[in-house]
Amino acid sequence: MGTFTAAWDWLTSGANWTGAGGAGQRLGEHLVLTVLSMGCAVLLALPLALWLGHVGRGGTLAINVSNVGRAVPTFAVLVLLALSPLGPYGELTTVIALVLFAIPPLLTNAYVGLREADRDVVEAARGMGMSGWQVLRRVELPLAFPLIMTGVRSATVQVVATATLAALAGGGGLGRIITAGFNTYDTAQVAAGAALVAALALVVEGVLVLLSKLTDPMRGRTRPGRGGGASTAGPSDGAGAGTDGEAADRPRKTADAV
């Protein structure tokens, strides 16, 4: 418990936040790193995944290839990149490593989401002469949206967490707080840094949830299958029938056939 109170103290002391190397700056760096990496990963992975999912081919291969980037520990990738000609560009290697790391969840989820879009609806879309691009953008994409966003959110959380590794190579970000605390045997600082990373991840997650709700093409539509129909109060519009009055008896004839 002592660690927690100490970490709390660390976090609440203003001195740790301001100035060069303060938590404020580290937070900013971490965010930049995350946004940059996710931006690149999204730009690379989503168009590819959407296209492959739309065409329905090559997805397996692409997912497999992208897994290569993830299968090797990010730390090792960082070191290997440092040995490459890119080595001197420290931040770049970190971004590359994180992009490689973020691509598989994006790619896999988007591809699967697209393949699973309701075939009847897609068929209707194609039948009305939507071009491939239009079917994709107007139908498949909205239908696959939840799964795509799931991929984006998982990837982002993971990137936020993994970006701490940048510190090992002297990059910026919250990882620096952790490694510094580590080297000075300052457990409180380590815990504080970890808490900051977690908090950032939560906030980013929250923002993404909000964002996906706002951009969800199906917003406003009741999500399927959650219990019975909702019953809400409200003014009855009392649309009764009774408009016509009762008329007199119908006259009748008792005629025979001719």
Binding site: G228, G229, S231, T232, S236, A241, G242, T243, E246, R250
Partner: protein, 415 residues
């Protein structure tokens, strides 16, 4: 028994789908539900198996408020054919069909056999289609699998939401017949939505006509057709509801005309005389045992041509000339194949007339000749049946007005 008590349903966005609904379906009764698109039929159904909870009022099943029954138990007792068919895309046709029996823990072999049986009942070959997935079926085939699936567990209550909407007339008739047959042996309590008024009339013990969220009429089909309670109902069941009554109005004895009757062995001259007496141009011919043989024209004689004005063009086989001498009726009589037993529907009578290109058909009771039905007779019968319903309906309406429960539906604008 299903009972609705002042049931209303208002959706989240304020749409009132069903309002103040009160009616009852007796045990073993098949009630057909018709009404304009969007009037709340599906909503009504789903409130019975609690897929939708009413906003107010209650639904009772065998006297118990369903709100108190566990939804799963409730639904196990209720077969449901959903409007959108909704087959399980991940199961084959056979697996889809045997879903509920398997759910109830029946043994695999037994439920499989039952599923195959039901598929055959709905006109699908279990061998050819059983192992396919729903995606590999046509629209109508899918719908039939949906029906088979709902029947598989033999539930005492059935909700069927346009179960035969996507199949062709032949299959539809087959399904209707099979279902009625089934219903006659094991009487289930059925709520059956359809957009086909004829189907509603043919299938229903009673018929519920909805207008925007309210029950406009709930009556025997013949009454709904014959005596629509409101303008709205009259309009809804169709300007041609008279024609639709063709299929529910039986041929009765009093609708028949009595043409002259001669025997096969009567002499032709005698026959001709009798026809002239009755001012008729043809006569019915019975054989020795009093059974229908055919007819004979008053102009019959040496010339075959110019025959049978106003009478059936039926029977290619002429009466065989010969043995009994030129003068016997037998030599001139024509076979009559356009006949129907008493009690069959006027629609069948009409169809038979047209099919045999006949101006009349004979009506038998067992083997006994009862008379002939002509187009005018048919028309009369139809008019009378409508009339009689109207009389009853008017009496009822008067009562209703006194009771103050009328919803002010206007009179049929008959004049």
């Amino acid at each position: 028994m299903i009972r609705f008590e002042q049931v209303s349903k208002r959706y989240a966005d304020g749409t009132v789908a069903v309002e103040d609904l009160t009616f009852q379906i007796a045990e073993g009764e098949l009630v057909t539900l018709v009404g304009p698109s969007g009037c709340g039929k599906t909503t009504t159904m789903k409130m019975v198996n609690r897929l939708i909870e009413p906003t107010s009022g209650q639904v009772l099943l065998d006297g118990a408020d369903i709100a108190t029954i566990d939804p799963v138990d409730l639904r196990r007792r209720i077969g449901y054919v959903i409007q959108q068919v909704g087959l399980f895309p991940h199961k084959t046709v056979l697996e889809n069909t045997e879903t509920v029996p398997r759910l109830l823990g029946h043994r695999r072999t037994r439920s499989r056999a039952r599923a195959a049986e039901l598929l055959e009942l709905v006109g699908l070959d279990p061998d050819a289609h059983g192992r396919r997935y729903p995606d590999q079926l046509s629209g109508g085939q899918r719908q039939r699998v949906g029906v088979a699936r709902a029947l598989a567990a033999d539930p005492p209550v059935l909700l069927m939401d346009e179960p035969f909407g996507a199949v062709d007339p032949l299959v539809r008739e087959h399904l209707q017949t099979e279902f009625r047959k089934l219903q006659e042996t094991v009487r289930k309590t059925v709520l059956f939505v359809t957009h086909d008024i004829e189907e509603a009339v043919r299938m229903g013990d009673r018929m519920a006509v909805y207008g925007a969220g309210r029950l406009e009429q709930f009556d025997a089909p013949s009454k709904v057709l014959g005596a629509p309670r409101t303008d709205y109902v009259a309009d809804f069941v169709g300007a041609d509801r008279g024609l639709k009554r063709l299929s529910v109005t039986p041929i009765e004895r009093r609708d028949l005309e009595q043409p002259p009757i001669v025997r096969l062995d009567d002499r032709m001259a005698e026959a001709t005389r009798r026809m002239r007496d009755q001012d008729a141009r043809w006569a019915v011919v019975l054989d020795g045992s009093g059974e229908l043989h055919g007819w004979v024209s008053s102009d019959a004689g040496p010339t075959e041509a110019g025959a049978a004005e106003g009478a059936g063009g039926a029977g290619p086989r002429q009466g065989r000339p010969g043995q009994d001498g030129e003068d016997s009726v037998r030599a001139h009589a024509r076979r009559m194949e356009a006949w129907l037993p008493l009690g069959h529907s006027l629609k069948q009578a009409f169809s038979t007339m047209l099919q045999y290109d006949a101006g009349w058909i004979a009506v038998l009771d067992g083997d006994r000749f009862e008379g002939v039905l002509t187009p005018s007779g048919l028309h009369e019968a139809l008019r009378r049946s409508i009339d009689s319903e109207q009389h009853v309906a008017e009496a009822e309406r008067a009562e209703m007005l006194l009771a103050g429960s009328a919803d002010g539906g206007a009179e049929k604008a008959a004049e």
